[in-house]
Amino acid sequence: MELVTPGIGLIFWQTVTFLIVLFLLGKFAWKPIMQSLNERETSIENALSAAEQAKLEMQGLKAENEKLLAQARMERDKILKEASEAGNKLVETAREKANEEGARMIAVAREAIENEKRAAIADVKNKAAALSIEIAERILRRELSDPQAQQALAQSYVSEVSLS
């Protein structure tokens, strides 16, 4: 029975001491400890969710970047295509123009040549006419020195006139 009979002295000291310990530790140890544990846990939780948020944002940003990059690439391709088209067109136009110019110049040259030719021919004709007239004159002069011949000529003219 000795063992299971609580003694008044120890009951007293245990009660007093334990209540003091409970009060002091509760006020000066457990309260700040629990508080900082809670604070740290919330801060860790916040940090984790912030990191998660940042990750998501990063992913969004990356996707956006990729989109922008793809867009830029497309734009570049378009511009390049357009530029090459424009270049081709320019070359084409230039060629056409050159061709046209060439054709025109050829035409002008041809015309000039034609004109020259015509003028030359006319000149030759004139010269030939003048020469033939001169030859004819000379022949006539020599032929018409004979009065008989003159007569015959006149005769022939007259006959021609009457005919016409």
Binding site: E2, L3, V4, T5, P6, G7, I8, G9, L10, I11, F12, W13, Q14, T15, T17, F18, I20, V21, L22, L24, L25, G26, F28, A29, W30, K31, P32, I33, M34, S36, L37, E39, R40, S43
Partner: protein, 347 residues
């Protein structure tokens, strides 16, 4: 269970030895063990190294304080002093001839015994450790724990998350100071009791009585409407059973802390008794050969006791949390009862 048997067995042997005629110089393991697990007015570290603790008596309202050294002569035999003497580990009134008187009325013993000193040592340890830890938390707020702080933090978190949150629910925060104090108080004192020459504080019924009483008081004063309703008008029980149910429930309130008190006391005391018994074997057999075996078993038991020290602290705290949890719980129960009632009626 085994431990309980050992405890009961040791009680029997104690009585047997107490009744046996005293022969000079004979080793009496029962006396030795009782002496070790019981409280004492001196702290006996080794032969000749004895700390005499102060005796504080209140005799019919009169306070008397003196050293317990006065009760012992040079041969460490008890002698009367100022009309008092130590008889079977207690201070009693004695007559001129040194024979104990029958009249003990009005004599209260508030002595600083070995257990009280051990209590103060554990309290100093608790203050030293946990106030240091608290200051660490203030100093490196928001940083990772370091040193002693990182040793105790997981334990504090364990008490909070697994013991308090799991069993009390959302209102756990109010009870954290009590649960943490009780946990570390029991654990530290269990460990101190295992030290060579240590006192058997948590194996003392007075200590476990007060701890269990505090759990009881907290439970009763935390009890909400549902808790009391379950006691005085248990749902689903016919009214005519109330004369039986109410006393049963009221006894139930008391049996819970009673089990707390006995469990801690019995476990710790039994552990001490087993280890001491194992050492006694050497002297009972008076054989050197038993020594190594005895020491091996005692060492094993000591490791087991180290575990039990933590386990009992955990169990006491856990069950306290469960009892408090039962008192503050908001019962969804009532819905279950309503669903169950028509079903029961149908059957």
């Amino acid at each position: 269970m085994k431990r309980l048997f050992v405890l009961l067995f040791s009680f029997l042997t104690l009585n047997a030895f107490a009744d046996a005629p005293v022969e000079g110089g004979e080793f009496k393991p029962g006396d030795m063990i009782t002496h070790h697990i019981a409280d004492d007015y001196t702290w006996h570290f080794a032969d000749g190294v004895v700390l005499y603790l102060p005796v504080i008596l209140v005799d019919n309202g009169e306070l008397k304080v003196f050293s317990s050294h006065n009760f012992y002569d040079d041969n460490h035999e008890t002698v009367p002093y100022q009309g008092y003497a130590i008889e079977h580990g207690h201070i009693v009134r004695v007559n001129e001839a040194g024979e104990p008187l029958e009249d003990h009325g009005g004599l209260y013993d508030f002595s600083i015994t070995k257990n009280v000193v051990s209590l103060f040592i554990s309290v100093a340890l608790l203050f030293g450790i946990f106030l240091t830890i608290a200051s660490r938390y203030k100093k490196n707020a928001g940083k990772a724990p370091r040193g002693i702080q990182s040793f105790f933090e997981p334990i504090i978190i364990f008490v909070r998350d697994d013991i308090a949150k799991g069993n009390i629910g959302p209102k756990y925060e109010r009870y954290m100071p009590y649960l943490l104090t009780v946990f570390f108080f029991i654990w530290f004192n269990n460990l101190l009791g295992l030290m060579p020459g240590g006192a058997n504080l948590t194996g003392n019924i007075a200590v476990t009585l007060i701890l269990a009483l505090l759990t009881l008081l907290i439970t009763v004063f935390s009890g909400n409407k549902n808790y009391w309703k379950h006691i005085f008008a248990t749902p689903g029980v016919p009214l005519w059973l109330a004369p039986i149910m109410i006393p049963v429930e009221l006894i139930g309130i008391l049996t819970k802390p009673f089990s707390l008190m006995v469990r801690l006391f019995a476990n710790i005391t039994a552990g001490h008794i087993i280890i001491l018994s194992l050492f006694s074997l050497i002297f009972i057999f008076e054989s050197l050969a038993v020594g190594p075996l005895s020491v091996a078993f005692a060492t094993f038991m000591n490791f087991l006791e180290l575990f039990v020290a933590l386990l009992q602290a955990y169990i006491f705290t856990l069950l306290s949390a469960m009892y408090i949890g039962g008192a503050v719980e908001e019962h969804e129960h009532e819905h279950g009862e309503e669903h169950a009632a028509p079903g029961a009626a149908a059957h």
